[in-house]
């Protein structure tokens, strides 16, 4: 199965929403942090959705709000200082923001699981990995200590950790980085959740190990037909596994597109900048492109389009009016499924 085929059968028509397909719908989500220096607006109206078996890649620099959005979905934001002033997070037709703490807790780990970036610090240093894996079964399914341990070994086998039986009582620091990340994946997979959120799952790993871990994750996702939200700043990782991409900047989605279309024809200057800054073998010897300037200070996001101070195409309107995320069409007005751009000049960007 190639990726283009996959994108073809996920045009996500409106009718699909009522059926079992639509897992998660994030609508107009806002997150802010109240700090001593002022209100940090980390997420400013994010919309995205994930279907069963689908992989959404959320792309952005650090501070773009991609992780904060994920934490809000997971319900692990520190509140306070965090606050969700408006928005909906609809999981299987129910708004999780309106649920009680207990209802949300039961979803966490069982229905939606998360894989964190740094497995060493994200695993409890003083508990054996077997205990930490088994805990999922003991808490959510009420298994005994012994049964949970057997399940933990089974899980470790499934994520291809060699000698799982012998290593089940080892502690996180006794594993290599790649193996630790496999344990994190095993923990997320334990109860076969509907949706997995992976927050930069391979950033902390060696390049050779990155591919292995990513392949494993993609295989398991296919096997269980799970939805996957892959948060990353690495365009290389995205191309192989994602179905669709949402590019975030300063707490907003600036472009959405099926994965290959985005690479072929970006409709936002920021996305174009990101793509241009990937080193390419066929352009050896040329100076590497870099987006000028720095990511915005979230305490005072520039007026208008947040990207305007760094945008090569910025006009007066960009400094005054916030561009909404609008559907992107072909030159002749034909609809491009799943594409959107939040740029006043998307036409010029994609077609010009």
């Amino acid at each position: 199965m190639t990726i283009t085929e996959k994108t073809a059968d996920v045009p996500a028509p409106r009718s699909g929403e009522e059926k079992s397909g639509r897992l998660l719908d994030v609508k107009d989500l806002h997150v802010e942090f109240h700090t001593r220096d002022g209100v940090v607006k980390a997420v400013n109206g994010v919309n995205y959705s994930v279907d069963a078996g689908e992989t959404l890649a959320v792309l952005g620099e650090s501070g773009s709000g991609k992780s904060v959005t994920a934490q809000a979905i997971m319900g692990i934001l520190d509140m306070p200082p965090g606050k969700i002033p408006q928005g909906e997070i609809i999981f299987r037709g129910q708004d999780m923001l309106k649920m009680s703490n207990e209802e949300r807790r039961k979803i966490r780990g069982r229905k939606i699981a998360m894989i964190f970036q740094d497995a060493l610090s994200s695993l409890n240093p003083v508990l054996s990995v077997g205990y930490q894996l088994g805990e999922m079964f003991r808490v959510h399914e009420g298994l005994s200590r012994k049964e949970a341990k057997a399940k933990a070994i089974e899980l470790m086998d499934r994520v291809k950790i060699p000698a799982a039986k012998e290593r089940v009582s080892d502690y996180p620091h006794q594993f290599s980085g790649g193996m630790r990340q496999r344990i994190m994946i095993a923990m997320a997979l334990a109860l076969e959740p509907d949706l997995i959120i992976a927050d930069e799952p391979t950033t902390a790993l060696d390049v050779t190990v990155q591919a292995q871990v990513m392949d494993l994750l993609a295989d398991l996702q296919r096997e269980y037909n799970m939805g996957l939200i892959l948060i990353t700043h690495d365009l290389g990782v995205v191309a192989d596994v994602a179905d669709k991409i949402a590019v975030m900047y300063a707490g907003r989605i600036v472009e959405t597109a099926p994965v290959h279309e985005l690479y072929k024809r970006p409709a936002h200057p920021y996305t174009r900048g990101l793509l241009d800054s990937i080193p390419r073998l066929d352009q050896k010897g040329q100076e590497l492109y870099a987006i000028k300037g720095l990511p915005p200070n979230l305490l005072k996001i520039p007026s208008g389009c947040a990207f305007n101070p760094r945008c090569p195409k910025a006009q007066d309107i960009c400094r005054t009016e916030v561009p909404p995320l609008v559907p992107v069409t072909e030159r002749d007005g034909a609809e491009l499924a799943g594409r959107g751009s939040a740029c006043h000049f998307w036409k010029e960007t994609i077609h010009g």
Binding site: G75, R105, G109, F116, S121, N124, P125, V126, V139, M187
Partner: protein, 309 residues
């Protein structure tokens, strides 16, 4: 592990010798004469003084006195008191069980009350209960302990009559209750502060976020994940505090008239009986060294990242 223990025990020898030597020098090299002190305010008889000093070997050079003392110590001989000529070992074996009981009770207070307060304050960070606990611990540390001792004695002993103001029977746990509370009060405050800080540091750790993301109930997150990590430094503190409690009872034992080690030490200092001080400190140092070895081993059990080779 075995090799580590052996190495640590070997390392203890120079520390043990060093500490006994230091206290020996402090007691003997400083001005003040225990023999002359026998005469009190009256002028001492020089001939008799010289005679006693010669009999006790006190006229020898300090290093010879120390060697002499250590030789005796190895054979379990702690020497004799100058006034009364009683074997010091007897005095120590009489006083230690009393202090040990008192210290054990005080230690239990520290452990139970200190950790409880610290956990409550740490988990309910920023709430009224946290502020109250923090203020209470600061107050305990900043008021001299004898003020608490005398105050409690006055209020609970004399005014309210809940307890006997002084300890008449050092084997009666009920009578030892109040002195033990006073003795453990400062340590209790430190334990509570340490627990609170440790919890505060750990609650923002990445693994805590993972525990929440796993959908664990709050209680389990706190007990199995947060406390398990946060209490490691507290255990260490509690371990090393056992020795300090036994040696630090001078004030408390004085106020409540407990005839333990603190009392013995105070007598020793007041009468300049160097041998008593050195003897008691020697025993305390052994307790302290063994306790810290135990703590180190316990540490390896509690934190699997620590491995002793």
């Amino acid at each position: 592990m075995g090799r580590y223990v052996a190495r640590r025990l070997l390392q203890m020898i120079p520390v043990f010798i060093g500490t006994t030597l230091l206290i020996f020098l402090m007691v003997n090299a400083l001005p003040g004469d225990p023999v002359k002190a026998l005469w009190g305010d009256k002028p001492p008889d020089p001939a008799q003084v010289a005679q006693i000093k010669h009999d006790r070997g006190l006229d020898l050079p300090l290093w010879e006195q120390y060697l002499h003392y250590m030789k005796g110590l190895v054979q379990g001989d702690f020497g004799k008191t100058i006034a009364g000529n009683r074997p010091i070992l007897d005095e120590i074996t009489q006083a230690f069980p009393v202090s040990m009981r008192l210290a054990a009770m005080a230690w239990t207070f520290e452990l139970v009350v200190g950790i409880t307060l610290g956990v409550i304050a740490g988990v309910r960070r920023g709430r009224i209960i946290d502020t109250t606990v923090t203020f209470f611990t600061l107050l305990v540390i900043s008021v001299p302990i004898f003020v608490f001792g005398l105050g409690f004695q006055l209020i609970f002993g004399n005014e309210l009559g809940w307890v006997k103001p002084t300890v008449q029977d050092s084997e009666d746990f009920q009578q030892l209750m109040l002195p033990a509370l006073v003795l453990g009060l400062v340590g209790l405050a430190y334990v509570a502060r340490l627990t609170r800080t440790s919890i505060k540091e750990n609650r923002t750790a990445d693994y805590m976020r993972t525990a929440v993301a796993k959908g664990l109930p709050r209680q389990r997150i706190v007990t199995r994940h947060l406390l398990r990590n946060s209490l490691i430094p507290v255990v260490t503190y509690l371990g090393t505090d056992i020795g300090a409690l036994m040696g630090g009872a001078v004030i408390t034992e004085g106020i409540f008239n407990v005839t333990g080690v603190g009392n013995l030490l105070f007598q020793g200092i007041a009468r300049r009986e160097g041998a008593i001080i050195v003897g008691v400190v020697t025993v305390l140092v052994i307790v302290y060294l063994l306790a810290s070895l135990l703590v180190d081993l316990l540490y390896a059990v509690l934190d699997p990242r620590i491995r002793y080779a």
